[in-house]
């Protein structure tokens, strides 16, 4: 158990980075995890070229895994181009979480990734195949 709820996961959960709502913003997207109904939104400000992320924030409530994942993911986005973000591999996020995520919790871990992809693409994207180990409720 201590494997999954390592201190750094709990720290991100208790004091998530980049939590809130950016106003104004260039991109905004919200999505939910069908297994629990948790919702997450992301607001993104782009730089002057409108091609790179200047600032990002996420909001919503969720479990430690989804909140830590969003906190960790959003920490890395500033300065990235939209193309780089579209090309992101969800496996990298799972690796960065660095804890064993069982099949029942993969959607928790990847909700932030799904919301981010929805935001940069302007419409909802499918769950990455890494999250499909179990079907939604």
């Amino acid at each position: 158990m201590d494997n999954l709820y390592r201190d750094f996961i709990l720290e991100h959960y208790r004091a998530p980075h980049n939590k809130g709502y950016l106003d104004p913003h260039d991109l905004h997207f919200a999505d939910s995890n069908p297994t629990c109904g948790d919702e997450m939104s992301m607001t993104i400000q782009l730089d002057e070229s409108k091609g790179r992320i200047a600032d990002v924030a996420f909001d919503g409530r969720g479990c430690a895994i989804s909140q830590a994942s969003a906190s960790i993911l959003t920490d890395e986005l500033r300065g990235k181009s939209l193309e780089e973000i579209k090309a992101m591999d969800p496996k990298e996020l799972l690796d960065e979480l660095g804890v064993p995520i069982g099949p029942a919790r993969l959607k928790c871990a990847l909700l932030s990734y799904k919301v981010l992809q929805g935001a940069v693409r302007g419409s909802e994207v499918a769950w990455p195949k890494e999250a499909e180990a179990v079907a939604g409720a």
């Binding site: 158990m1 201590d2 999954l4 709820y5 709990l10 297994t35 629990c36 109904g37 948790d38 919702e39 409530r61 969720g62 479990c63 430690a64 895994i65 989804s66 069982g102 029942a104 919790r105 928790c108 409720a137």
Partner: protein, 431 residues
């Protein structure tokens, strides 16, 4: 056929007269250890129940030695299969005290039973400007079919409000049942037991009020039929839906009970083989009830398995099942209430609360709770329990739900409270 059963005789001094741990010997699933090497503490009966060996054995015996299609073959094996299938229907009728087994339609589950009513009865009896009434504590299965019906025919769906402690608001029920523009509501669709809160509704009294107001009454018994006596004549309701998989039976089988005269009037829901008397190129004539509603080859062996589950429950006695779960509920409610940072949903009175407890832990999301519980060998459900309106009512995303059944005992209650403390320790909450 070798069937092991540990159903004990009633013993004095034990609520329900039997011990859950003794009954666990009847359920092969409890032979397995969890991946963390713990004893499996199964507290998710409200989602689906484990199967006793007698159900599994009866089904394999049916497949091995008594299987053919039903209601058609003019040969011994088919007659044998038909007799077993129809015997299961009679067991079901007895279990819910239906006046006749002809009023019992086999379906896949309670969801299909409710959909059958919504499509067949609903599309012929609910029209523009009519009202259908359900409640805020329903499972989605008793909401979405009515939303679809009302949207399609131009009717209105209204929800009876619930109180802070998860009961139906009696004043709101009375108000919703009032005629509007001189028209009575057409249907009141209500759960006997809430799957998300555990609330037990007084369906006999609610049915009386519904009938007084001129509405028919559908009872969703998916969460009650497995756990307490269900009597359609005492309830005096018009429709009742249940699922076999929640009451020790197999998945893929459930039942709709409805008054004979309603079933006679209702058009078929699905059409095809079995449900006709004769078919010409111009049309078809429907078979008698309940076969009119059982198009195609039914879930033969699943029905026989459900019959075995009913025998098992009947041998214990549904009054004893209820008493046993009430005892576990009272202990769990008291023990959990004593832990700081724990909030419990639903009525505190055990007379009004089935063996289902929705738990909230301050500062720990239900998903994390369930993962930590899983590590402790405690299987619970975390989520909205297919009752999102309930979650909206209390402004929560989800709950952790523990639900008891015949094989649970006080050790399981202890495992539950201990898992709550573990979750609080890991998250540094509680005391």
């Amino acid at each position: 056929m070798a069937v092991q059963q540990a159903i004990p005789r009633a013993r004095r001094g034990i609520p329900g007269g039997f011990s859950g741990s003794a009954l666990r010997a009847d359920f092969p699933v409890f032979e397995r250890q969890t991946r963390t090497g713990k004893r499996l503490v199964y507290l998710d009966a409200a989602a689906s129940s484990p199967k006793p060996r007698v159900v599994i054995d009866t089904m394999s015996d049916a497949y091995a030695h008594h299987y053919a299609n039903v209601h058609r073959g003019i040969y011994e094996l088919s007659e044998d299969a038909t007799a077993r299938f129809e015997a299961a229907r009679r067991k079901l009728a007895g279990f819910i005290n239906a006046p006749t087994e002809r009023e019992c339609v086999f379906v896949r589950n309670a969801t299909e039973a409710i959909n059958l009513v919504a499509y067949s009865w609903g599309r012929t009896n609910v029209g523009t400007g009519d009202r259908v009434i359900t409640t805020q504590l329903e499972h989605h299965a008793n909401i979405v079919p009515w939303q679809q019906l009302c949207a399609e025919v131009g009717a209105t769906l209204e929800y009876v409000a619930i109180t802070d402690d998860g009961r139906l608001n009696a004043d709101d029920l009375a108000a919703k049942l009032e005629p509007r523009d001189g028209r009575s509501p057409r249907l009141l669709a209500i759960a006997h037991v809430s799957n998300a809160l555990g609330t037990i509704n007084d369906v006999a009294e609610i049915t009386r009020l519904g009938h007084e107001a001129g509405a028919l009454v559908l009872v969703d018994a998916a969460q009650s039929a497995p756990h307490m006596p269900v009597d359609v004549q005492a309830f005096d309701c018009d429709f009742l839906a249940l699922s076999g998989h929640k009451m020790l039976g197999p998945s893929g089988i459930g039942a709709l009970w409805a008054r004979r005269e309603l079933l006679e009037e209702m058009p078929p829901f699905m059409t095809g083989g079995s449900m006709i008397i004769r078919v010409t190129l111009d049309g078809a004539e429907w078979n008698e009830v309940p076969y009119k509603f059982e198009a195609g080859t039914p879930a033969i062996v699943e029905a026989i398995g459900l019959g075995a589950a009913i025998d098992y429950l009947t041998e214990i006695g549904m009054d004893r099942v209820r008493e046993h779960e009430k005892f576990l509920f009272e202990h769990a409610w008291t023990a959990l209430s004593e832990i700081s940072g724990v909030r419990l949903l639903g009525p505190a009175e055990s007379e009004l609360h089935a063996g289902v407890i929705s738990i909230l832990l301050d500062g720990v999301h239900p998903h994390d709770v369930a993962t930590i519980f899983d590590h402790e060998g405690v299987a619970v459900r975390a989520g909205h329990h297919c009752a999102m309106p309930v979650m909206l009512r209390y402004d929560i995303p989800a709950t952790t739900r523990a639900s008891f059944y015949v094989y649970n005992d006080l050790d399981d209650v202890e495992a539950l409270t201990s898992a709550v403390r573990t979750a609080q320790q890991i998250f540094g909450t509680g005391n």
